[in-house]
Symmetry: C2
Subunit: 334 residues, 2 copies
DNA sequence: GGATAAAATGTAAGTGCTTACAAAAAATGA
DNA sequence: TCATTTTTTGTAAGCACTTACATTTTATCC
C-alpha cells in the first residue's frame, strides 16, 4: 500500500495525498475528506523511510546517557520519552558508558542516524578539560544538542539544569546550623554537576568561617558505586578522620555511608547525620529514611522537551534555564 | 556528500561503491581498497533514509517497556542496548504504561517505524485474557517479537524467561523449612510472571500439605508501588491476618513490608521473615538486607539479543528457553 | 460576461540508496 | 589463439515519498 494506491482510490494525484498527509492547507475540504476516508479505510501509513528521505528527518530524537540502569538516568529517560511521544517524536536510546571515546562514537552515530536533535542526560558528557568537549561542539554543528543538568556554553547547545551549587550549599548550611562542623563530603564523579555540588559545600563552609580541609572531601573512584564498596571505603578512612555528618553527591553514596555507620554501630542521626542527593527511591528504602535533595528532575525533563520542540520549530536557541532544588528533610538528619 | 561523489572520486560506478559499502564480494581487492580510501578521506557515511528505503530496514530494534524508570526494566534496557549496539543495531525505546490501548498503539508505531524486530520487556505485555493479546499476534505478523520473561505461544514470537514458578516455590519452601506456616504472599500485578510466582507459592504450600487460604494472597492494586502505600496496605490488614513471613512479587513490595514491620516494631527476621524478588539494588539498601530471588536478568538479556540476531539472519524461530533463578539468602530470613 | 486573481490540483524532478540485468574484462581450457 | 566461463563493473530501474512549478478550476470584481 503506497501513496499511489491511495491517490488512485481517491481519484486524485499523489501530490494531493501527500498534501493531506502533511497537513498542507491548499487542499479543498471535500478532497481532504475523501482522501482521509480512503487512508482510513485502507489503514494506510506512509513509509517512514521514503518520508525520511524526502524530508530529511524521521522525527527522531536521540537520548544519550552513560548508563540507562542508573536511577537518575532511567527516570529522566522515562519522563523525556513520555513528553516526546506526546509530540510525535520517537526516541533512539544510547548508553555510552563513561569513556570519552564511546560517548563520541555514540553521538556521531546519532548524527549519522539523522536524529533531529539529541538530549544528553547528566553532566558526565561535559568535562572540565575543554579539549574533551570538542566532540560536543562538533556534533552541535549538525544538530541542536540539549544538555540535561550540565552547563556548557556552545553554539547550538541548550542547557537546562538544577542549581546543584545552591542545593548543596543549602544542605551544608542545614548541617552547620545544627552545630556540626566536621562534615565529610563524599562524591564519585568529576562531572560538571559533581564539581558544582562540591563547590557548594565549600562555599557554605567558607561563608561560616569554617576551614576547608581537603581530606574532608573524599572522592570515591567508581561511577556506579556498589554499596559495600562505599562502606569499605569509609571504613578504610576510619581513624584518620573524625566527622559528624556526611553529605553525599547522590543517594547511593549516602546509603553506602549508612551501611558503614550501621556496621560501626553508630546511631543515625544522633552519632552521624547523612544527606543524599536526587531524592531517588533509594532514599526511602532505608531506615531511617534519607534526608536528600530533590533536584526537580521531572520538571527539568518536561521543560527540556518543551524547549526542544520550540527549537525544532522556531529554529532559535533560547537562554539556558536553572531550576532550584529542594532539601527534603527526613530521618537521617536531626 | 553522496554515493555519486564517492563513485566519481574513486573512478567507479555507484553500484561498485554500494557493493563495497555492503560488503559484497564481487569487487576486486584493488577497487575495494580504492573506494574505501575515498570513503575514509571524505568521511562519508551513507544516508540512512535512502539506505532504509532501498533495504526496507534501518537496523533498528524496538524496545517496549511499561515504565523505563522501573528497576527491572531499566536494567534490562541497559543490557539489551549494549548487546544490540555491539551487533550494529540501534534501539528505539517506548514506554507504554500499563494500559492495553497504549501498548497496542506503541507496538503499532514500532511496526510502522519499520523496526526489524521488537523486544517486549516484562510480562505485562501478555494478559491472561486471550482477547487482549490480539495486538501481539497482529504485530507478530509483521515482525518477529521477543518476549523477555513472558511466555506466549504464537507464530513469530520468541520467549526467554526465568522460571518464576520454580523460584517462588523454592523461596516458599525455604520459609516452610524453617517451621513457618503462615506465609503472606504479596503481589501487585496480574501479568503472566506474577501469576506464575503466585502459583509457585501455592504449589509449595500444597506439596507440604498446608492449606491454601485466599486471604493470604494479597493483591496490592498499584503497578508502581509507593513504599508508604504498601506499608499502609499491610497496616490496614493488621489484626485480620496473622503471619510470620511475607513473600513478595518484587523487592519493592518486600521493602514496603519491611516499612510496615519497622513501624509496628517487629524485629526482622525474628518476628517476621521477608523475601523479595529481582535482586535489585533496593534489596541491598535496607537493613537488614533483603533475601531475594536473583532472576538472572543479565543472562536473559544477553541470550535474547543473541537469539534475535540469529532470528534476523537465519529467519528461523528457535524454541523458547527457560532459565533458573536463584534464592539469595540475606538478612531478612532466618 | 470576461479579465484577473486566488485556490486547488497535477506533473515531474528530486531524495540517495540497492540490485537485477547487461556489458565488459579477465581467467580458463582446448 | 580463440571460444567459453568466471569475475568485475556499469546501467538503469526501482524504493515511496516531497515539493517546485505548471496547469486547471473556482472565485472575484468591474
Amino acid at each position: 500500500m503506497t501513496i499511489y494506491d491511495i491517490s488512485e482510490k481517491a481519484g486524485v494525484s499523489i501530490a494531493t495525498v501527500s498534501r493531506v498527509l502533511n497537513g498542507s492547507d491548499n487542499v479543498s475540504p471535500q478532497t481532504r475528506q475523501r482522501v482521509l476516508d480512503v487512508i482510513e479505510a485502507c489503514d494506510y501509513t506512509p513509509n517512514v523511510f521514503a518520508r525520511g528521505l524526502g524530508l530529511n528527518s524521521m522525527n527522531t530524537i536521540g537520548i544519550l546517557c552513560a548508563d540507562a540502569s542508573d536511577l537518575y538516568a532511567s527516570s529522566a529517560i522515562y519522563y523525556i520519552e513520555q513528553e516526546l511521544h506526546k509530540n510525535n517524536y520517537t526516541c533512539l536510546l544510547c548508553c555510552t558508558g563513561y569513556g570519552l571515546a564511546d560517548k563520541q562514537k555514540y553521538l556521531n552515530l546519532l548524527v549519522n542516524q539523522k536524529v533531529d536533535s539529541a538530549i544528553l542526560i547528566g553532566s558526565t558528557f561535559i568535562s572540565d578539560n575543554e579539549a574533551e568537549n570538542e566532540y560536543i561542539r562538533e556534533a552541535a554543528k549538525d544538530i541542536p544538542l540539549l544538555l540535561l543538568n550540565a552547563d556548557y556554553d556552545c553554539e547550538n547547545v541548550y542547557c537546562a539544569l538544577c542549581d546543584d551549587f545552591k542545593s548543596t550549599m543549602q544542605a551544608t548550611n542545614f548541617i552547620i546550623g545544627q552545630g556540626i562542623e566536621d562534615i565529610l563530603y563524599l562524591y564519585n564523579s568529576n562531572s560538571y554537576s559533581a564539581l558544582k555540588k562540591l563547590s557548594g559545600y565549600q562555599s557554605a563552609l567558607t561563608q561560616k568561617g569554617l576551614p576547608l580541609r581537603t581530606e574532608y572531601m573524599q572522592h570515591f573512584p567508581e561511577n556506579h558505586a556498589n554499596l559495600t564498596a562505599i562502606a569499605d571505603f569509609l571504613s578504610a578512612l576510619d581513624g584518620t578522620l573524625k566527622y559528624d555528618a556526611v553529605i553525599a553527591g547522590d543517594d547511593n553514596l549516602a546509603i553506602g555511608a549508612m551501611k558503614f555507620a550501621q556496621k560501626k554501630g553508630l546511631s543515625i542521626p544522633n552519632d552521624l547525620s547523612i544527606i543524599g542527593y536526587n531524592n531517588s527511591i533509594l532514599s526511602r528504602c532505608c531506615e531511617p529514611e534519607l534526608t536528600t535533595v530533590d533536584n526537580c528532575l521531572e520538571t527539568l525533563c518536561h521543560h527540556i522537551v518543551k524547549t526542544l520542540i520550540g527549537i525544532l520549530s522556531d529554529n532559535e536557541m533560547p537562554q539556558k534555564v536553572i531550576f532550584s532544588g529542594e532539601l527534603i528533610k527526613r530521618g537521617t538528619t536531626l
